[in-house]
């Protein structure tokens, strides 16, 4: 017993004696994170339980702000638009990004140019991007001129001013940018696949579809979870492109939860209700991402 006990005691003592430097390395980030991230987040949650105009003292209203959301039509529109946005923006950029990556993965002459060209939009600020697209969408802009040139003059539209099309018109510049980003993520994933697997598959006579189903797709699993997290987070925080093109208008038709939150906070100065909206966005993002990642990584083990 004594013989067995001795090393255990020693080990416990060794564990208790953490080097001060290490302690510092842990504690400092915790304090910084706590002060700059968790404390404001908690404050935001507290504000969501109040009515606050940004100047006077906040007045506590309990869950009143959350109750108001249930009967708020604009919140409904914004939530629905956000779902549309996640499905279209997320779906198209994931599928399109993967498609482009597969297309541009093979080494051919000039492939570097295409990769660079598709990635270029990522480096522009979205605000600059939307300014350019705003011009493209103008009543006498490129889109309408092209439509007229190919004989589809009847399809001409004030794309950003029509509540039927505004949301989709804003979605396109966002996609234009996101596709290149997702493509690069997938390209990196494809580069990591061992070519020997494909050689073996070819020897066994697998078609390219079979190669994709049985080699590429399973091998891309970890990239997929990254892409999915990135897409959901990016969709929920999409703001700049909508704000700089339509401000959520005309009459809230292109409103997303993020733009509605901003407008409520800084235009209507209803910071309590805006904080409640922020909490909803946070719960959505965090909830989806965490459940997915936990599941994904548990399966990996």
């Amino acid at each position: 017993m004594a013989v067995l006990n001795a090393p255990a005691v020693r080990r416990r003592r060794a564990m208790r004696r953490v080097p001060p430097v290490l302690l510092l390395f842990v504690l400092v980030p915790v304090v910084v994170e706590g002060f700059w991230v968790f404390w404001p987040a908690l404050q935001g949650f507290y504000l969501s339980l109040t009515n606050w105009d940004g100047v006077s003292a906040p007045s506590f209203v309990g869950l009143g702000n959350y109750a108001e959301m249930l009967s708020d039509d604009i919140f409904g529109t914004a939530a629905l638009n956000t779902v549309i946005w996640i499905v279209l923006f997320g779906g198209i950029s994931a599928a399109g990004g993967l498609g482009l990556a597969l297309l541009l993965n093979r080494e051919r002459r000039g492939v570097g140019f295409y990769r660079a060209a598709l990635f270029t939009p990522v480096v522009f600020s979205l605000v600059a991007t939307s300014l350019i697209w705003q011009v493209i969408y103008q009543p006498d802009g490129v889109v309408n001129k092209l439509l007229a040139a190919v004989g589809l003059g009847s399809w001409q539209h004030s794309w950003l001013a029509d509540p039927q099309t505004a949301l989709y018109a804003v979605l396109i510049p966002a996609l234009w940018r996101q596709l290149g980003y997702v493509m690069v993520l997938y390209l990196a994933g494809l580069k990591g696949i061992d070519p020997a697997l494909y050689e073996a598959a070819k020897l066994d006579g697998a078609t390219s579809v079979q190669q994709f189903r049985h080699i590429t797709w399973p091998q891309l699993r970890s990239v997929n979870s990254v892409v999915l997290s990135v897409i959901i987070i990016d969709s929920l925080r999409s703001f700049d492109v909508v704000w700089s093109m339509t401000k959520g208008g005309p009459y809230h038709s292109s409103e997303l939860l993020s733009t509605y939150m901003y407008a409520t906070a800084f235009q209507s100065l209803r910071l309590g209700y805006a904080s409640a909206l922020a909490v909803v966005i946070f719960v959505l993002a965090f909830g989806v991402i965490v459940t997915y990642l936990v599941r994904a990584f548990r399966e990996d083990q």
Partner: protein, 433 residues
């Protein structure tokens, strides 16, 4: 101690002087000096008044900087201008004012937002500055009060709204500015017949607020300025039959609106007007900031037609000026600065450096003297009442509710009842919070 202060003062003056030269001269020179002004000497010249400015259009920025320089050159207190994009300025204003160490003075306009801040004790009482401003009209005095007997604002300039058009185009089309609503509609019909969109709007993109000018004018023409103010202050309802009534004449004019009116931002609407693709635009003189200099002489305007002669004529005459934070550590310097901007001399300097289409608030100051400005000044002087603008008479918080409602009306005039009901609901949330 004194020698150090003297040195720093001299150092400061030299730098501001250089910066002033830089504004006039080469841009690289400007960049070098501008940084030296904002980083180095500001700290040393402890008495400098900081002026937080949202005047970011090039001409206005030059004008206010010239004003600060001339103020500094008088040898008393100094002022440094800090120009911020107006969207940032607006959203940051509550944080500026509640900060422990706020900027000293701010460009702004009077209105309900101002009196709201004043009620919370955030604005400096500048009553003693007003004692040196004896020649100002009673209207400006009332406008600059907080409603509780304190003066919290110093007006410097104001401007007018009207239907602006190009004289050469009207001559080319053989039309005259109208004198009544029916003449106005006839004019629109004539222009439409010539293939021109009669009325430009500019309520697209991020400037939907321009549509509020129509709402304001129809309301003050039909229901009068007092009702308009009550409505915007939350004492009347947007679904009131009196409000509903003002959309009848608007409906008559709607077929003559540029179909792209809600798709083009007002800067683009200005361009389209100058190119002669629209006939006229109801706008304020600020649009001239974006017009090329040679087009300025060709511009003219006519008054929004009278709809009901029994209603006392009111016009929109938005006023701009300055207020200060109650927590400023430089009370004496701020008041010196305010006394200066209230003088005829400083307002003339400002007008000379800007596009020249604004009017000085000081009755002794000369405006730029062009026929256009004379005409605008006379129109405002003849008005029985002045209103500010939708967001100034109500608040910036209420403006988005108007934007949503009015753009929807322009696009779907048949949904008026539900538009007004929704507007009232949205406005109520703003008033209650």
């Amino acid at each position: 101690m004194t020698s150090a202060a003297g040195l720093s003062r001299r150092h400061f003056l030299r730098n501001t002087g250089l910066a002033g030269l830089g504004v006039l001269g080469s841009s690289s020179f400007l960049a070098a000096c501008a940084t030296s002004v904002s980083s180095g000497p500001v700290k040393q010249a402890a008495g400098a008044v900081t002026v937080q400015s949202n005047l970011s259009s090039p001409q206005a920025k030059v004008a206010i900087e010239a004003l600060a320089k001339a103020f500094g050159d008088k040898g008393g207190a100094q002022a440094t201008v800090n120009t911020v994009a107006s969207e940032t300025f607006r959203t940051q204003l509550p944080s500026y004012l509640t900060a422990a160490n706020p900027p000293d003075s701010y460009t702004w306009y009077p209105g309900s937002l101002l009196s709201g801040y004043a009620r919370k004790g955030l604005l400096l009482d500048v009553g003693d500055v007003w004692q040196t401003m004896g020649n100002y009209s009673q209207a400006f005095r009332t406008l600059s009060g907080d409603g509780a007997g304190h003066q919290v604002f110093v007006p410097t300039t104001y401007y007018w709204w009207g239907f602006f058009y190009r004289k050469s185009n009207f001559a080319k089309w053989g039309v005259q500015p109208p004198k009544s609503w029916s003449e106005f509609l006839t004019l629109c019909e004539t222009l439409k017949g010539k293939g021109i969109a009669p009325i430009g709007l500019g309520a697209g993109g991020t400037t939907p607020w321009t549509a509020s000018a129509w709402f304001d004018y129809l309301n003050i023409r039909i229901n009068g300025a007092p009702f308009h103010r009550q409505l915007l202050a939350g004492q009347q309802r947007f679904d009131d039959p009196k409000v509903k009534r003002i959309f009848d004449p608007w409906r008559q004019a709607l077929p003559y609106f540029d179909p792209n009116g809600t798709a083009l931002a007002f800067q683009d609407a200005t361009t389209v007007l100058l190119q002669g693709r629209t006939g006229m635009v109801l706008t304020g003189t600020f649009f001239a900031d974006a017009a090329p200099k040679d087009a300025l002489d060709d511009l003219d305007f006519f008054q929004f037609p009278i709809l009901d002669p029994s209603v006392p004529t009111a016009e929109e005459g938005p006023t701009d000026g300055f207020f200060a934070s109650a927590r400023t550590p430089h009370v004496a310097e701020v008041k010196e600065w305010f006394k200066y901007v209230a003088t005829a001399e400083s307002q003339e300097l400002y007008i000379k450096n800007s596009s020249g289409t604004v009017l000085p608030a000081n009755p002794a100051a000369k405006d730029s003297g062009t026929p256009l400005v004379q005409k605008g000044r006379k129109m405002l002087a003849d008005a029985k009442e002045l209103t500010q603008f939708f967001n100034r008479d109500s608040s910036d918080a209420l403006q988005p509710t108007a934007d949503a409602a009015l753009i929807r009306f322009i696009q779907k005039p048949n949904e008026l009842d539900s538009i007004l009901a929704d507007w009232q609901t949205a406005a109520q949330k703003v008033w209650l919070s």
